[in-house]
Symmetry: C3
Amino acid sequence: MLGVCYHPEHWPEARWSEDARRMKTLGLTYVRVGEFAWSRLEPQPGQFDFGWLDRVLETLGSAGLRVVLGTPTASPPKWLVDRTPHMLAVDLEDRPRGFGSRRHYCFSSTSYMRECERIVTVLGGRYGQHAAVAGWQTDNQYGCHDTVRCYCDNCRDAFRSWLQRHHGSLEALNQAWGNVFWSMEYRSWDEVELPHRTVTEANPSHWLDFSRFASDQVVAFNRLQVEVLRRLSPKRFLAHNYLGFSTDFDHFRVAEDLDVASWDSSPLAFTDLFPLPAETKQRYARTGHPDIAAFHHDLYRGVGHGRWWVMGQQPGPVNWAPHNPSPAPGMVRLWTWEALAHGAEVVSYFRWRQIPFAQEQMHAGLNRPDFAPDVGFFEVERTARETTTMQLGAASRAPVALVFDYEAAWVLSIQPQGAEFQYKTQVLEWYTAIRRLGFDVDIVPPGARLDGYVLVLVPTLPIISDAALKAFESCRGTVVFGPRSGSKTAHFQLPQGLPPGPLQRFLDLKVTRVESLAPDLSEQLEWQGQSYEARLWLEHLDAGNAVQARLGGGKPALVNHGRFHYLGCVAETAFLMDWFEALAREANLEPLRLPEGVRLRTRGGITFAFNSDPDPWRAPVPPYARLLLGDGVVPPQGVCAWR
Amino acid sequence: MLGVCYHPEHWPEARWSEDARRMKTLGLTYVRVGEFAWSRLEPQPGQFDFGWLDRVLETLGSAGLRVVLGTPTASPPKWLVDRTPHMLAVDLEDRPRGFGSRRHYCFSSTSYMRECERIVTVLGGRYGQHAAVAGWQTDNQYGCHDTVRCYCDNCRDAFRSWLQRHHGSLEALNQAWGNVFWSMEYRSWDEVELPHRTVTEANPSHWLDFSRFASDQVVAFNRLQVEVLRRLSPKRFLAHNYLGFSTDFDHFRVAEDLDVASWDSSPLAFTDLFPLPAETKQRYARTGHPDIAAFHHDLYRGVGHGRWWVMGQQPGPVNWAPHNPSPAPGMVRLWTWEALAHGAEVVSYFRWRQIPFAQEQMHAGLNRPDFAPDVGFFEVERTARETTTMQLGAASRAPVALVFDYEAAWVLSIQPQGAEFQYKTQVLEWYTAIRRLGFDVDIVPPGARLDGYVLVLVPTLPIISDAALKAFESCRGTVVFGPRSGSKTAHFQLPQGLPPGPLQRFLDLKVTRVESLAPDLSEQLEWQGQSYEARLWLEHLDAGNAVQARLGGGKPALVNHGRFHYLGCVAETAFLMDWFEALAREANLEPLRLPEGVRLRTRGGITFAFNSDPDPWRAPVPPYARLLLGDGVVPPQGVCAWR
Amino acid sequence: MLGVCYHPEHWPEARWSEDARRMKTLGLTYVRVGEFAWSRLEPQPGQFDFGWLDRVLETLGSAGLRVVLGTPTASPPKWLVDRTPHMLAVDLEDRPRGFGSRRHYCFSSTSYMRECERIVTVLGGRYGQHAAVAGWQTDNQYGCHDTVRCYCDNCRDAFRSWLQRHHGSLEALNQAWGNVFWSMEYRSWDEVELPHRTVTEANPSHWLDFSRFASDQVVAFNRLQVEVLRRLSPKRFLAHNYLGFSTDFDHFRVAEDLDVASWDSSPLAFTDLFPLPAETKQRYARTGHPDIAAFHHDLYRGVGHGRWWVMGQQPGPVNWAPHNPSPAPGMVRLWTWEALAHGAEVVSYFRWRQIPFAQEQMHAGLNRPDFAPDVGFFEVERTARETTTMQLGAASRAPVALVFDYEAAWVLSIQPQGAEFQYKTQVLEWYTAIRRLGFDVDIVPPGARLDGYVLVLVPTLPIISDAALKAFESCRGTVVFGPRSGSKTAHFQLPQGLPPGPLQRFLDLKVTRVESLAPDLSEQLEWQGQSYEARLWLEHLDAGNAVQARLGGGKPALVNHGRFHYLGCVAETAFLMDWFEALAREANLEPLRLPEGVRLRTRGGITFAFNSDPDPWRAPVPPYARLLLGDGVVPPQGVCAWR
């Protein structure tokens, strides 16, 4: 199903019913409204104006549209900021952040949380059981603009309490962090500061606990709204719209309190910003990298336990990347089908109409600011028509699982050890390699049950919890670990007995040394008579198990024992593809090598093919299959589907 | 005429008369003194020491030199800073800027303005009618070192008043800025903050009004001195020495209160700092880019309504660019003649003698710090001799006008939308293209009368005022608009009916979408059977008029209707030259294609040729012409002139 | 002799005696303990716990090891920071630096100095005459993490007093700094501020005096500990472990109070961080640039007047460079021998065992955190065995001296004038050129006696003191000056009579102009019929002396008069080698051209050869020589020695 983000308060009321009619005609089902509208809902402290929103809901509802109501807590108005002491966040340089854009609050401000509870209670009370209201979105893009971590006194005090709860005693804390080093031992909880502003790097254990704390504050902030809305708005779903490639808080944990995960998808902006090689950026500047949206679809399907939306789909050029090209013709349709193929319940576009003022005036909408339909409108029109002809089943379990962990992102950013080693790059490279072999992938958190997966990919997982270990152990699939897996204890120490720590239960392996390399250095990686490149990160493996690949000098690089495999380097995509292909075949999976920009995805018995390459691709449609979209040859920026 | 900047307070008094004699002998007419000398004029609060300046004026006057007195307000001494609360500016990061260099004041500090009024009144009273004093320079290089915009409480309060005056009501302000977006609506003027420190970008309308406000503060600051000096120093001209490529305030507006515009010209430093391609920087490292000084000459001729000086001409290596090479032999002469050819009344060198101490000790002068003449001295000697042989008439109106707008620079820096799209680059590229066709160019502000111009170039003009629109309409020439022209309303909103907004009076055109590209992407631009490159910025044009050029995919890129033309992309110089050449010919102008580093310029019937290329160039001297400089072949770094 | 850095407080006491035994067996003599242990020595204010350290000394002493005790003042514990007002340093942006790592103190905090005196007195009293204690290390790596210069009020007040002492009167100060420029003249000592936060660059004289002041504060801070320990711990040597390429304070001056200089050597990290060409970094990524350790060995031999150690030798990958590769096999042995060949008394490894927690958990040790020996252990074992077979004499005076000056580094960083001109680069390039000719080099401060040196290299020395001048004059060797030598007076002014100022006593030379070039520009340098490249910096020389080399345009580039030579540009290594070779031959030295990665060094009659190249090198072992290490062919990463 399709939907759209709509801000009626930006437009004359006279337009609303025509807008609603056109949305319905276009084939949309859902309309998100209300987020960021606090100054219109409560124009003066305690004086509410709900008339306009009443009429909006009435208008949309009458047109047969279903409403997702956003809570307005991501943009408290100026009067509220001025009356709520210490609610502004403080940045890494100890400067309070200012009013004048959005997300200007600290997650540890109890006074702001009271304000949020108040407005959500009022909204929930008024609209919680409204017939047009299908669900809610809490706040907006937690973490956007680097807003998870705040360095104010509220946060410092709350962090001290958090530490007390999690460590119990100062002795335990000093031990866990290794504070004997550099005389960092504390005698009192009040001695603990936030980890910023230190002369050189702070203790990584300190940063890790602060990262966990900050993530927990987001969970608690969101839960407050959830509790109010559960009470006041029964039978409505609760969602949040996450921001992709944003890892400062644990999206899985926030989602435990929600019904639906959703995310805002801008493939071109992400491609412009992601640390990809220049030629890759150039190649996909107008289509987006073929794995960037798909990766997030798979991630948020996991985050939402299967229930997920694209809440804000880019319908044309956006305004916030360094460069903002126009999507190639067909891409809005392709992105929509891609999301649906990956299991999205709803694809909702951001936004109905390009706004002629303020910060986002250069962000395209389905309609132009002169009220005419924009290019994306027509692609949506076609797509909406197409969706009515197709019955989409549930997304079934993929043969391959990829373990994604927010804590891993924190660990690697706290201690890169090699400047270019980034969690998101490592994960995306593994994802790309397996997806180019034609496989569907489920993205799961560590500790999720892995039963039924034939192949489990763990690009890297520095801290391996007991739950994660048990999941690896109890599943029957082939489990493949990347470098740095098991390299840290829960307190960010080296494991006794060296990395990979708890994985030594599966592998007779010690990582005796690691080295990081500048990007212009590489080493040969020899596997099955072929030579590849290892880069950025090399581990010295002391292995009692079978060595499957070696570095140029003969040092083991890849070992396995039964169904457990460990790769001790960052390897080029060509190697990852050949290796995964071999592992897949051993596990009786049937890989299909795809061109660089082509991807497949199945949903409920339907196979979709997507083409971001400049050349058409003949899809391997089986003779007995029924074509549902296209004719079997997928044109550039095209989609094909068959059952 | 020639002049020099002189700081007698840096040198023993015993030198002064010898210096004056040598200046006179060298052929100089004007000497600027006094700027930055506050600590010598008022060594203790309220205790003035004018003896030395009396003697300086006496010495210079007796030698037959004319004096330009600088007000010392760009460098208030420490005692004044310590006694004048809140006069120090505050930077973007909310840190007060410190004493110890120059320009350490806030333009909104009324207490500092009172101090300025006081010292200027005292100076004006004492020297306003002095026989040797020909004119005044107010302050020094307003805006240098990023000093226009200050973020102190004075500025915040003054900004609130400014907004009140310009918007009338908060309702109007909220509407003009579109503050309903992100709940940014204000209920009280006291709620408005300065636009810095926001979590993500502030409202562009907010930034634009703050930019206008900050520019207005400079105008008011300058006007205060003007008013005092007009009263106390009748019949003397008033000037300011502007800094090139500095666009944070409106140079035209400040000049409305002055008689003479002047600027400080350091072509090599500007070439090192300007975002030019590496090979261009390399080629012109020792000559300066051939359009950088010329562009400013034309600009300040416009700013000064025809009366303008070069106040501080680089006479050798300077000290403030990342790299400071020596001008190639002949360049000091070339730069002098170039300025005169563009209409300068006076070219004044900075400075008489290299100073052996403090911040500018590595900045060359006409004389070395060991009192010997430096290389530049001899070039000036030759030039001075040459000028006596030539009667320079007034600069006549050029056939081509280029519209330059400080507000446009603010708009594009507030909202680049494509990271590399800069106002100054766009303008200089258009300027280069038309200058390489041999044409003289007048640079005018939007709204200036355009009568008599055959060709009017508008590289980009996002906000088009009624006055500007009228000027375009009422002139008879060909008017050529670049991308983003008419793309914003006066309040930084998208125009109803889409860009180019008010230009739709001339053109049946809608810009339905824009896209920005990374520098390594480009698109073909097809025009008259030839293919060029469009880069960085592409517009989707919905045109009812004739399409003159198209992008590779066939989309219109250049449209015209009668004498109005609109180009919807950033195009390479080769295209601009071919296109302008065709437009010029259509308008019965006769272009002359010049080599990359050669430029022509006429003044009062005399044509000058300047050569910054490594090869000599045979100038197209007509058979009947009289050679005034050179022999018709312009050597590298050489000048030729004929009538 | 060999040693190790050991932190017993990081390990269970049960391990200590086994550790001590293994150290002894490995062949180590010295063990440094105690640094950073303040929180264990004084866990509560005023409550000391010396039991553990008593037992450590007992254990190490009994095993036959000698102890170097570190004072713990580089890491005061949190309780001390909280009780000692204003002891935290303030950074360039006026932000107090925080607790949570190390070196978080201000050198001007008298309250912190009292705390340091207190703890050192207690330690000195208890262990000053302990049989196992051989010496002391004061603090740790003064200056690391940019900690020399602090911008707090303590520093401002102390700086004012310092100025008063050094200038006597404000008139003298104003004159010395040239404060008449920009009205910077002071009327009172209280008007002087620290030179940061100015709107544009502060007066370079201001920065220079502040740099001297900050350096003096380090000297005074160190001297306080020295005085206590001299009194309480007679007959023990006092040392400090310097940080390489750290020039913010004068290492020579601090060493005047010490007995032994030492430094912490991490050749791979320095190679990764030093501004070397990319291909050089790549080539030496796993061996280190062949001159980086050697340069520091020679420097600290000079700093320590012949007595010096490597206190912290990298034994494997470290953790603090952007990239941290593993040393190539053999390099730990090579580095050890290299240090010994350069005259080190002791090479001590950092650290005994890799620590599994806190900031340095990724820094290798001789032993792995799982208690097994790491790769470096075995190389040390071999090296220790080898050292027992060789009697190392004293390092004799080298034929070549290179003058190194901390003040020169300050001058060039205060006023680069060309963005890429750095002191350390200029010095290392000259050092490389002379070392590739096979010569031993002594590094000496300006003013040191130069008698006996055949060749004296002065890569650049902007300020030439009377003592330095006298030393150049009174020695008999060839003295070679690089660009910018003599270019500044002691107060950072241009010398009367132009540069090279005082060197005009030796050379009939004026530098009439300097120019700096972008890195992609160069000029030909013609010498003896051959052509080389001059880059970055060119001087215009007005020379009455013989011109030995000229720039492409014919301008003099290299002049000499008798034994004094002056080069007025930055020249490529190939030129420096050819030129130095010619000068050496003229002075009857016998150069030996070495391959790019090979170096020689003699100590007490033994010649060592070191090979960082990928190919073996046949050493020129004389027929009569006795091979002490190797067989005359030095393998990659190998060492050869003969007498």
